[in-house]
């Protein structure tokens, strides 16, 4: 797989997959998630840790579309994404007591589990060539539900997208291939025809730049 092909696909991966047709714009008045959604998720997860099923149901509604969406983005297969999403959400219930608020937010904790599971699945079930094929095959395809839902998250998404655009090309490519494509940094280096230490460094300094742009902080 040549670097040029990869770059073309990246153009899709970095902003095409969920952006979808602009016909969603008429929904743009839909409320963004409340500003205190993070605090709410933290509270809910603490309640879940105490065995509160009602809290779990509310947490489910808050995070399931992103857990499923992320799995779907990485796996490019709705059936596998559904399986992974179910595993992840049950895992959230099972291990809620292990959540440590000093180490980050509840939503990040959930999406970290989700990303990890999706990546593990894609690596074990889809060989590199198969992944590349799927990536190409789903190019430009945006299911209706994603178009609608995107409207509800426009603000948050816009912030992330704006910050991603502040990255250098190589930072963006490296992070995007790893996060949405599930590639290891060795694979990313190979795909982009770039030296291993460079990729490693770009992933780190790219994420640091994203962190600063998004204003992410975790208490020391």
């Amino acid at each position: 797989m040549g670097a040029q092909m990869i770059r073309e696909r990246l153009a899709f991966m970095s902003d095409g997959a969920n952006e979808g047709p602009r016909r969603a714009d008429h929904l743009s008045a839909a409320p963004a998630p409340p500003a205190d959604a993070t605090a709410e998720a933290n509270e809910l997860l603490r309640a879940v840790a105490r065995g509160d099923e009602a809290a779990f149901t509310r947490l489910y509604d808050l995070v399931a579309p992103r857990v499923y969406g992320l799995a779907r983005r990485v796996l490019r297969d709705p059936a596998q994404a559904e399986e992974v999403a179910q595993e992840v959400l049950v895992e959230v219930w099972r291990t809620a007591g292990r959540f440590d608020p000093a180490r980050g937010s509840a939503t990040a904790w959930v999406f970290t589990i989700a990303h990890r599971r999706a990546v593990d699945r894609v690596r074990s079930e889809q060989a590199g060539a198969e992944r590349a094929r799927r990536l190409a095959a789903t190019q430009g395809e945006t299911p209706y539900d994603e178009v609608v839902d995107q409207a509800t998250t426009r603000l948050e998404q816009q912030q992330v997208r704006r910050c991603v655009q502040t990255l250098t090309g190589l930072q963006r490519e490296a992070i995007t291939l790893a996060y949405y494509g599930g590639y290891t940094y060795r694979e990313v280096a190979e795909l982009l025809g770039t030296a291993l230490p460079t990729i490693k460094t770009r992933m780190r300094d790219g994420l640091i730049r994203l962190r600063d742009c998004l204003g992410v902080e975790v208490a020391a």
């Binding site: 997959a17 969920n18 179910q86 049950v90 180490r103 990890r116 998250t153 940094y185 962190r211 975790v218």
Partner: protein, 251 residues
């Protein structure tokens, strides 16, 4: 591994191989600045999920809610030693989520230089089997993996898959993982043999019909090779079939 800190970004993106991930997780327990950086970079990476909203099929909600009613929750951290995805090691383990399957290679990847290269080339896949074994025998497995003289050995299995073992001479024990091997067939099982100058001596039978499992073995001192055969379930007193794998223990 002089620039090990530089792996924080790849780690937060889950872009390390299992072995490297395990090694870096180990580093995190000792490096507060990396631990803090990883927490922030994870938080940052998780924001990339914001752009992936997709409404799941309604049955997912029903399925998940039904399943959690049947699922026991883990007690809060620290009271149970082995959690899925957490390293069975003492101290600071809450900030060290690990691939359990790779834990076997942690010691090597982080320690002995010559072995770490080999370790990085391997992917230990059969996580579920490893988790099951760890739950059952976590303390002893932990001791072997944490032993300062733990060494990794590995070999391919005829017909596919890999056999990986971590041996500790000082503890006279080891952890053996079979992963990705073809199922041995109904009523048959993989059996492990210690091979030295004398006759092969059984070191355990893996679960019937399984092509992947983890097993704690003992009495490894003096063993030259670990051999693997396919035998009737329950095992044989002596190998009845040719070896499908043989892992030399070079010292």
């Amino acid at each position: 591994m002089s620039d090990v800190h530089a792996l924080a970004g790849a780690y937060a993106l889950h872009a390390l191989s299992d072995i490297e991930r395990a090694a870096f997780a180990r580093h995190l327990a000792e490096c507060e600045s990396c631990a803090h950086e990883v927490a922030e970079l994870r938080e940052t990476a998780a924001r990339l999920a914001d752009g992936t909203w997709s409404v799941p099929p309604p049955r997912l909600r029903d399925n998940v809610l039904a399943e959690i009613r049947q699922t026991r929750q883990l007690p809060p951290a620290a009271s149970e030693r082995v959690a899925r995805g957490a390293a069975p090691a003492a101290g600071g383990r809450r900030r060290r989520p690990l691939v359990v399957a790779a834990a076997a290679a942690v010691v090597l990847a982080a320690g002995a230089g010559t072995v770490s290269y080999v370790a990085q080339e391997q992917r230990v896949r059969d996580e579920r089997a490893t988790v099951a074994a760890l739950r059952a025998e976590s303390a002893r497995v932990e001791a072997v993996l944490a032993a300062s003289d733990a060494r990794l050995h590995s070999a391919p299995v005829t017909g596919g898959g890999q056999i990986t073992m971590v041996l500790s001479e000082s503890l006279d024990g080891g952890v053996v993982m079979l992963s990705g091997a073809r199922p041995p067939g109904a009523g048959r099982a993989y059996q492990l043999w210690a091979v030295s100058s004398g006759a092969p001596d059984s070191r355990g039978v893996l679960p019937s019909g399984e092509g992947g499992a983890t097993r704690l073995i003992d009495r490894i001192r003096g063993m030259d090779t670990l051999g693997v055969t396919i035998e009737p379930s329950g095992g044989s007193a002596a190998p009845t079939e040719p070896l499908v794998a043989s892992v030399p223990v070079e010292s």
